[in-house]
Symmetry: C2
Subunit: 107 residues, 2 copies
DNA sequence: TAATCATATAAGTTTTGGCTAATATACGTA
DNA sequence: TACGTATATTAGCCAAAACTTATATGATTA
């Protein structure tokens, strides 16, 4: 699943909000997701796996618990894409010409 | 459909890449999408509608043609959300404390 | 006006992703 | 070791969204 697909889901975005503030144990996230979205522990665990696999979250074992924190690297693809499409409308014409000259243009 | 859902789809992202460079007529986009994704004119038109409805694209009539260009406002929600989650891990602790003090924190 | 081109819309089908329920795994404790 | 707690995985179901085919709308041209 690519970076954009990951961010599509409102539950996953909420989870990222949580773990971006501080480390959260899986169980803590389950409580929030259950309260706010009415979904099960299983659903949360599956979402956490998606976040891990796509490089948006790192896990640390703490006994029986798993503590999640944000892994910024997951955002790289999103950042790069946004930067790419923005280059063409948010850059001064001359600067854009130079960018393209240097071969960093996407077309 | 919210901003993240819009960017989920690879066809729509490709379309945004195209119209971010310069205005494109619907027909031009159809040709690219057909070549790169093997989808029909109808599918493209439906994607264009999504982009319009979500504020990612503006249309201009040119006779029988419709010319599309990027509408940056569609990106606002994405930008704001990214900024929000980033605040917590990319800000100096003191600066973050001040931010929260000012009531701009998300929790 | 008829025919054609460019694009949009509608209806119906297929695919994908997210969910639940059930089960497995791993740790902690009596 | 046995049991309870915390989390992950599997299988199968369902809904949303993306697609195709067919059709409608509007502009251009003969």
């Amino acid at each position: 699943m690519n970076a954009f697909d990951v961010l599509c889901d409102p539950v996953r975005r909420r989870m990222l909000e949580l773990i971006s503030q501080r480390e959260h144990a899986s169980g803590e996230i389950v409580k929030v997701a259950e309260a706010e979205f009415g979904i099960s522990q299983s659903a949360v665990s599956q979402h956490l796996r998606v976040l891990r696999d796509a490089g948006f979250a790192k896990v640390r074992r703490d006994g029986a618990r798993r503590c999640y924190e944000v892994d910024p690297s997951g955002f790289d693809d999103v950042d790069n894409w946004l930067k790419k499409v923005r280059k063409f409308w948010e850059t001064e014409p001359e600067a854009l010409a130079i960018e393209l000259e240097r071969g960093s243009g996407s077309v």
